[in-house]
């Protein structure tokens, strides 16, 4: 097994669009946009790939902040951004196709923000 090198840079939200445009111009492909709750903040990671080189950039935002959409640069990014909005409640400005919270319809609004379960306690504690 060959381990893969994965670069990760944390950048400022204001530089996001510029950085993503750089990746686009170099010919990178958008692999993934993922959101993670880290304490009180959200980490949003954008992953790109070119010729099997895998690179990530990350922005860290407070929960009520809004972020610019990258769907103007990568057309297909709307699916990740809408998903992020529906599950985490991250507001994304200027998506090319905005489902307004109707892509994944859930019972609880923004379920991944504060996760809840049916039933109490761990399932099995060894």
């Amino acid at each position: 097994m060959k381990p893969e090198n994965q670069e990760l840079r944390v950048i400022d939200t204001a530089h996001l669009i510029g950085e993503v445009e750089d990746f686009r111009n170099k010919g990178y492909r958008l692999v993934n946009v993922s959101c993670t709750r880290a304490g009180e903040e959200f980490e949003i990671s954008y992953s790109f790939e070119l010729d099997l080189r895998f690179e990530n950039i990350r922005i860290i935002i407070p929960p009520d902040a809004d972020i610019p959409s990258i769907s103007g640069i990568y057309w297909g990014a709307f699916i990740y951004e809408n998903e992020m909005h529906d599950l985490f409640g991250v507001h994304v400005r200027g998506m090319n196709i905005d489902f307004k919270g109707n892509l994944i319809r859930t019972t609880v609004p923004y379920p991944f923000r504060n996760t809840s379960f049916k039933g109490e306690g761990p399932c099995q504690d060894r």
């Binding site: 097994m1 060959k2 381990p3 893969e4 994965q6 492909r29 958008l30 692999v31 993934n32 993922s34 959101c35 993670t36 709750r37 880290a38 990671s45 992953s47 099997l52 895998f54 990530n56 990568y74 057309w75 297909g76 990014a77 709307f78 699916i79 990740y80 998903e83 489902f99 109707n102 892509l103 994944i104 319809r105 859930t106 379920p111 991944f112 996760t115 379960f117 761990p122 399932c123 099995q124 060894r126």
Partner: protein, 359 residues
């Protein structure tokens, strides 16, 4: 200019066993726009990561999708192993690779059958599923499960395959391949299939790249993305090249999958020839602390399992980015401007796996 009407497609639709809902905006018989809406199968299984310990979450990861379940489990395990710095024995890597190639065979045959059914070619559907039973028998013999195997775990694999069974598997591949060749001939050279598929749902190379198409959907449009080339598990030790077609229509995507069947068989042969002896698992000590994007090539395309540990038994986050989710924007592009009668075939041609997509 004629009037526009909105026609619903799904969620329960004869062509797809799974629920997906599309609102098709029609102008006469032509589709001008498509609005997908999902959530019929959404379970929210990523949240269970806070409820199950990391070795147990493998079972949840495997049940993201029943069709490519082994590869889900394996990708998750690879992520956790990388975070924990575990060195998995070579033999375990080989066994994992053999099982994931059998999964690919089973998934592609399943898709070819459903695709033939979608075109109304019932006979071919039955034929593809007859061949698929051979793969499921091998799975059952070696892992104990037909569609959900449960043979992968953090640190290695649960079961070994003895030398005799490996030899038998290799012998049986010959007859299997012969049957597949006959079937492939129909898919690739039959006139009625070609006229149903050629020029339908064209996705240009540039669109495929900008929309982020992966797997056979991307490779059918000439984008040679195959994560197996990174050499995860034992893929670094076998010789193969990604199957790529240039046309970008439904026929090209079908041809990619048909040809991948034979490439998978070739990979399995090489693996069985070269498999080393030794242990099949290592002992897991401690808890994961750190993060990793674990990537692999599923039958439908690139799969990303993001795992983040915080030093406890419970992971902080698992994010599963499945290929079908990524292939939805290309699907929207393909459907714009097609005929209403072609919609089922085009939707099927990306090999949608809704269970995966909505998690």
């Amino acid at each position: 200019m004629s009037r526009q009407i909105v026609m619903p497609f799904g969620p329960q639709h004869p062509v797809l066993p799974e629920p997906i809902h599309l609102d098709l905006v029609l102008e006469d018989e032509t589709v001008v726009d498509v609005i997908p809406s999902i959530g019929y199968v959404h379970r929210g299984l990523e949240t269970l990561v806070e409820k199950r310990q990391f070795p147990e979450y493998v079972y949840i990861a495997e049940r993201t999708c029943g069709i490519c379940s082994f590869i889900h489990g394996m990708t998750y395990c690879q992520g956790v192993e990388r975070v924990m710095g575990l060195e998995v024995p070579e033999r375990a890597h080989y066994l994992r690779t053999i099982w994931s190639e059998y999964s690919r065979l089973h998934s592609h045959l399943l898709w070819l059958g459903l695709f033939a059914d979608g075109m109304g070619f019932e006979n071919l559907f039955m034929n593809a599923w007859k061949h698929r039973e051979f793969v499921l028998d091998v799975m059952e013999e070696t892992t104990g499960g037909r569609v959900i195997q449960g043979s992968c775990k953090v640190g290695g694999v649960r079961r070994d395959i003895d030398q005799e069974t490996l030899k038998k598997m290799e012998r049986d591949l010959k007859g299997f391949e012969k049957g597949l060749k006959e079937m492939a001939n129909v898919f690739l050279n039959d006139d009625s299939i070609a006229s149903r598929l050629r020029g339908v749902g064209v996705l240009s190379r540039n669109d495929a790249y900008v929309c982020g198409a992966v797997g056979p959907t991307g490779r059918g449009s000439g984008v040679p993305i195959d994560i197996r080339m990174t050499g995860y598990a034992a893929y670094g030790e076998v010789d193969f090249s990604p199957v790529v077609e240039e046309d970008g229509d439904c026929y090209a995507r079908c041809a990619v999958r048909v040809n991948e069947l034979f490439s998978s068989i070739e990979i399995i042969r090489q693996l069985i020839d070269r498999i080393p002896g030794g242990e099949i698992e290592v002992k897991v000590k401690g808890n994961p602390d750190g993060e990793y994007f674990s990537r692999s090539e599923q039958p439908r395309g690139e799969l990303v399992h993001y795992v983040k540990g915080n030093g406890t038994k419970y992971l902080a986050r698992s994010r599963i980015r499945t290929p079908t989710l990524t292939n939805i924007p290309p699907l929207v592009k393909m459907l714009q401007g097609c005929e209403l009668a072609d919609v089922p075939v085009i939707v099927l041609s990306i090999d949608p796996c809704i269970g995966c997509m909505e998690r």
